[in-house]
């Protein structure tokens, strides 16, 4: 009797567990399939976009009328961006695929620049035409390689989940057709990096010669530490310091100093260039519990601080309060002209006015003594180029970095359109509208709707 009951209970138990296990298994498979399908979509979409890219570059080559060339180039630009997006959805982060992505980005930049310029006034040069032809051939090769991978995937029912598992376990050397295929694409592209995109493109790609404009003697580690101590703990006593030098991958030399002040419970770090001993950035982390000085007092402290550290010719440009800290942006100023690339940021604690942050990376990279050219166009003339609906409140002159990463002299107008404030830059040479910036308003704090 008792045995019968136990057997019955156990049987039900086992059957129940089996059923539950089967349900779990089904659910897991459904989720895996879902993830797999997302990868498949991104992958097939990518090869489709590359097909399309090749075709569109081809059609733009065959075009004669300039009025149809611009939209065709814009189309190419759009496709590269879509393809770029697809790559971002594939688990390829650990596969060397950057050359291909860079190549796509370069095609995008090239076509964008050609598409937005007035081709009637400035038609494609012979060199640019040749570049386009070359891109046509090169995209054909990428297309071919990708189609091959696609074919193998479809033929052998390969799954991206396997790729992901292989990559996540670090065994990417294991035989995996998909990864191999992408590596082939990458190798193909590598040989294209020589493609001549024209003079503008050089500056589009991020220049790596950072901090080349710095002057001064090389400082020793000791000097760096004593400087950092002065910054981090003007009133601290128990300070522990650690110094390291830059790694081999860095293009310039610097010391990293981290300090811990037990007395004030402040943890601060700082990087200082070896050449000249310039502070690149400084961060002190501590709690700022309450506000006891105003943002205006804090901005004066920041100004005094810059003066003390011999950063001159800077104007306070923007200030903002985040909780109990004030963040101030300073930009360079020379003969009444604002120099936007030379920017420095200072963060001040609003409880005692101490400097708790400093960042001069942009300033150190770009600052040099400049010849400010004469404006060929007067401010009055430039004003006529501004949208007449904008009510101009302030005007001045400034040097900004334009789309091509070149410094240009502009007439700057700050104005109001509707409820929003805009900053408009008109090139003082050509009268072109270099940049229109919408200045952000404060964002409402969204509260939980419940």
């Amino acid at each position: 009797m008792l045995r019968g009951i136990i057997i019955a209970v156990l049987t039900i138990g086992i059957a129940g567990t089996a059923f539950w296990g089967y349900q779990e298994h089904k659910e897991k498979n459904a989720i895996l399939q879902n993830a797999e399908n997302n990868y498949q979509r991104a992958f097939h979409d990518l090869s489709y976009q590359i097909d399309l890219l090749h075709d569109k570059i081809g059609t733009s080559l065959a075009m004669n009328s300039r009025s149809s060339l611009s939209p065709a180039l814009a189309e190419v630009w759009k496709i590269t961006s879509e393809a770029h997006n697809d790559v971002g959805q594939l688990p390829l982060t650990l596969v060397p695929f950057n050359k291909t992505e860079e190549f796509l980005a370069n095609i995008g930049n090239f076509t964008y620049k050609a598409a937005v310029r007035d081709l009637d006034k400035e038609p494609l040069t012979d060199q640019e035409y040749q570049t386009l032809q070359k891109l046509y051939k090169e995209s054909a090769n990428i297309q071919n390689d990708l189609r091959e991978v696609q074919h193998t995937v479809l033929e052998n029912n390969l799954t991206w989940m396997d790729v992901e598992l292989a990559l996540a376990s670090g065994k990417e050397n294991a035989d995996n057709t998909i990864i191999d295929g992408f590596q082939t694409v990458e190798k193909t592209v590598e040989s294209y990096s020589e493609t001549e995109f024209g003079p503008g493109m050089v500056s589009m790609q991020k220049d790596d010669d950072q901090f080349k404009k710095l002057k001064g003697k090389t400082i020793t580690q000791k000097e760096a530490v004593s400087m950092a101590k002065k910054w981090a703990a003007p009133r601290g006593k128990k300070v522990e310091t650690k110094v390291t030098e830059n790694g081999k991958g860095s293009h310039f030399g610097f010391y990293s100093i981290s300090m811990e002040d037990r007395g004030t419970r402040t943890e601060s770090s700082m990087d200082i260039t070896k050449k000249g001993g310039y502070p690149i950035w400084f961060i002190a982390s501590r709690e700022v519990k309450k506000q006891s000085i105003s943002l205006n007092d804090a901005s004066n402290k920041a100004i005094a601080f810059l003066k003390e550290n011999r950063f001159t010719n800077l104007d306070l440009f923007e200030s903002a309060q985040y909780d109990n800290t004030g963040v101030f942006t300073f930009i360079g100023s020379q003969d009444g002209t604002r120099i936007y690339p030379d920017s420095i940021r200072v963060k001040v604690a609003l409880d005692n006015g101490d400097i708790i942050g400093f960042s001069a990376e942009d300033y150190l990279k770009s600052h040099h003594s400049r010849e400010i050219p004469e404006a060929r166009m007067s401010a009055k003339e430039a004003k006529t180029k501004v949208n007449p609906n904008v009510k101009i409140m302030e005007e001045g002159r400034s040097i900004i970095l334009n789309d091509l990463n070149q410094e240009v002299l502009c007439h700057e107008f700050t104005g109001v359109l509707g409820d929003d404030t805009y900053r408009i830059f008109i090139n003082a040479e050509s009268g072109a509208e270099e940049k229109v910036q919408k200045l952000e308003n404060a964002e409402p704090i969204y509260e939980d709707a419940v």
Binding site: H84, N296, D362
Partner: protein, 284 residues
């Protein structure tokens, strides 16, 4: 005797309070600070309310000194023949207080309730408020004549926040989630560094162009893969993200980082290393 002394002390105290309270009536409007663009808080609420009372400011009274407030203040300074600097210093504040009225209780009540409201002069103030979500102004209970007592006013709720150009509070939240999931045990600088790497990737042409695209790129961050990104981030992570967005990059423009103790991929060791912060090595 003792109780008499006590009573006397109280009387003296009250006597001292009376002139004081009538004096503070004036000074209570605004604190002593010079209010400048970017400031947040009670003084800004009062500044906006007073400028709105005079019709210079038509935006929302939210307690953040933004561009709208800036132009309103400059117009006020222009109309009243003052030096136009866009700063609310002592002279400007005195002029404002003289020229306008400020119904502190009304404004604070509306702000704390999250209502839509305005503070124009010449119109019945009760008609200028609508509860959140309602279209018609609803009748307000009580509070007529605004009883004047000496209790220190509680600070009103500021209903907006400064934000760096191009990033919303939600972007910041998402990044804070990622930073917290990836680097919550790291020193503060290490957290800023992780946020900076996310931003460097957004800038780079070989990574997706949005914050969410970078964070959710498959296999890019372990915290995303194992779900740690959905832990609730602390304030430190948020501050670190703000610092990174505001231009602090402790990594020297790195786009990769890894933990040498747990990194499984041999490939990542091949990247040019820039520096080490805490447990992470940052590389190009």
């Amino acid at each position: 005797m003792k109780s008499f002394l006590k009573l006397f002390a109280i009387l003296v105290f009250i006597a001292a309070l009376i002139p004081c309270s009538s004096f503070t009536q004036k000074a209570e409007a605004f604190s002593n600070q010079v209010i400048q663009q970017g400031a947040v808080g009670d003084d800004v609420i009062e500044l906006q309310s007073r400028l709105q009372y005079l019709g210079f400011y038509n935006g929302k009274i939210d307690g953040v000194f933004g561009w709208g407030t800036y132009w309103a203040l400059r117009n006020f300074q222009y109309e009243f023949g003052m030096e136009i600097d866009g700063l609310a210093g002592q002279t400007t504040k005195n002029k404002l207080v003289k020229a306008s009225k400020y119904n502190r209780e009304h404004v604070k009540e509306q702000l704390n309730k999250g209502n839509k409201f305005t503070h124009y002069g010449g119109t019945d103030i009760k008609k200028q408020a609508a509860p959140k979500g309602a279209n018609k102004p609803a009748p307000q209970r009580g509070n007529q004549g605004a009883p004047k007592n000496n209790t220190a006013p509680a600070p009103a709720k500021v209903t907006a926040a400064n934000k760096p150009n191009g990033f919303s509070q939600n972007d910041i939240q998402l990044m804070a989630n990622a930073v917290y999931g990836e680097a919550r045990g790291e020193p503060y600088t290490g957290q800023v560094a992780v946020a900076a790497v996310i931003l460097n990737r957004v800038e780079s042409s070989t990574f997706p162009n949005t914050v969410s695209g970078v964070i959710f790129e498959p296999l890019a961050f372990t915290a995303v893969a194992d779900g740690q990104i959905w832990l609730t981030p602390n304030e430190t992570a948020k501050k670190a993200v703000l610092d990174a967005i505001n231009g602090w990059d402790p990594t020297g423009s790195a786009t990769y980082y890894f933990n040498p103790d747990t990194a499984t991929s041999p490939w990542i060791w091949g990247r040019p290393q820039i520096k080490r912060i805490g447990k992470h090595i940052f590389c190009k």
